[in-house]
Symmetry: C2
Subunit: 326 residues, 2 copies
Amino acid sequence: MIDELSALKRIEERFHKASKDVKLGIGDDAAAVRFDSDKLVLCTTDSQVEDVHFTKSLITPSELARKAVAVSVSDVGAMGGVPKFILASVGFSDGEGEEFLEGAITGFIDSEQEFRVEIIGGNLTSSNKLFIDITVLGEVEPELIVKRSGANPGDLIYATGTLGDSALGLKIVQDGVLDSGNHLVNRHFHPMPRLELGRELALKKIATSMIDISDGLLLDLERISVHQGTGAQIDLAKIPTSRDYDKFIMQFSDNQYNVALSGGEDYELLFTSHKDKQGEIEKISENLNINITEIGKITNSDRVELINSNGEEITLEQRGFVHFNN
Amino acid sequence: MIDELSALKRIEERFHKASKDVKLGIGDDAAAVRFDSDKLVLCTTDSQVEDVHFTKSLITPSELARKAVAVSVSDVGAMGGVPKFILASVGFSDGEGEEFLEGAITGFIDSEQEFRVEIIGGNLTSSNKLFIDITVLGEVEPELIVKRSGANPGDLIYATGTLGDSALGLKIVQDGVLDSGNHLVNRHFHPMPRLELGRELALKKIATSMIDISDGLLLDLERISVHQGTGAQIDLAKIPTSRDYDKFIMQFSDNQYNVALSGGEDYELLFTSHKDKQGEIEKISENLNINITEIGKITNSDRVELINSNGEEITLEQRGFVHFNN
């Protein structure tokens, strides 16, 4: 079990550096930081709770800490912003000891490097189940912020990377079929938020709306269409999936598309853009070497329609929840 | 059990107002806010975890939500700053239903009024045990910030209000002796952070160091003395206690002072000041109608010394933990 006082001492030792924007970091009642005066401050918080979001036996402390930061900075990237500072609130159970503490600190320090953020504070408490609650502070120019609202009928809908890998990867690990060397499994435990791409789309004023896909394509698509008073039409055949997804999906699901549509935890970007911008989007895709796939368009209806390769609308019983066999 | 989607809808309905500094509030990937360009942004996070910080049967959802905000804004006040924005991350267990949701929302809205803050975002998740994790963003002028460090030998040490009431109040409720009408009990469930006083001490540049007393006087005193390379000498007879504390303490403890010294959750301010400022401090105390008691001085030693009424040093076996009878 972790002793809070000695843990805090260890943490203060290891997070001793601070950039010029950090006037006061870990170790006082509050941290004090500086933002660019002409920018808006973005803030968001997200939790990873044991046996809700993760199972301790399947993820290392270092992976867990990094992932908690990754999924939180993803929200700032999806607004076209740049994440800067992190507060980490950790509830540790009797099961967490010295090894957990060292692993988690390593994961947090790795995430500082990878996402160019600084951990400036947080909280330690004991808890029945392990949890990590991450708050991210970032910044964005007021004229560049990309919201969930803003898409217009006729705008094209784009998804980055491939979808469904993370949910399928988790299922594969849970069933003990493959280990962490696999691409799908890696996508689950080591998500890569699209910070650079989100920023580029904002800087070039290409996206009319944007969100990161955390709860599955369909649910997150509703958030930028139906919840904003428009509809959307998606071509099922265009949904981008990986080679590994295509190889394994029918072993685990009775439907080829369900997991890609509703699997969750992809942390890809879903955005809309005027159709005149297609060329610019292709260029950005090439420059950053990230697939960006047009998957449909915003409509005047009040719902999300899924169209199969024959041009017929199909329905899915479940939206936002993965349906696996067994 | 709470349905996350309908809960979010309910939350968005009830937190619809936003001041001019909130460019984007609840409902997007991140909130976007504006701070005064010449100020530092203060940020801090704190958790209330079921069966660690509270017992569900003893506190109402509304009290819990308000208290979670109160103890977090207290940290900003203890730096001389002004709290502005709140992110609330809530993990709810199967036990929480509609009634919890309504109560918690009411408590959060009450806290917005009382502490002049705005709830701009947060997160909802399910959890084995109920928890509320609050992040506060505030601001302070760089030249006015009051840190834990900064006290000099010879500085006088002050505590506000009375100490030990909260811990004793909790014990009284746990033993079923008195109910919430009692002053001590009320101090536990309805803590009053000293925001106005903390701000006044900063504006007048009176405090050389400051902290809010959350973990008991002795532990928090070490944080502004021993941890900063100085010592402290405290006159036991000067420790401010309430009439109710004096009346009930010997029923629950074998020592008159222990709970006031180490009880925790007082959320009073502990600060140091040059001895020339005594007159100014008395004036502030009168103006704000808050007791401010000089309890000792900062020394050149490397520890906290407790002096009894005969001028002799005494030792306490336990520091930072309450020792109750039975």
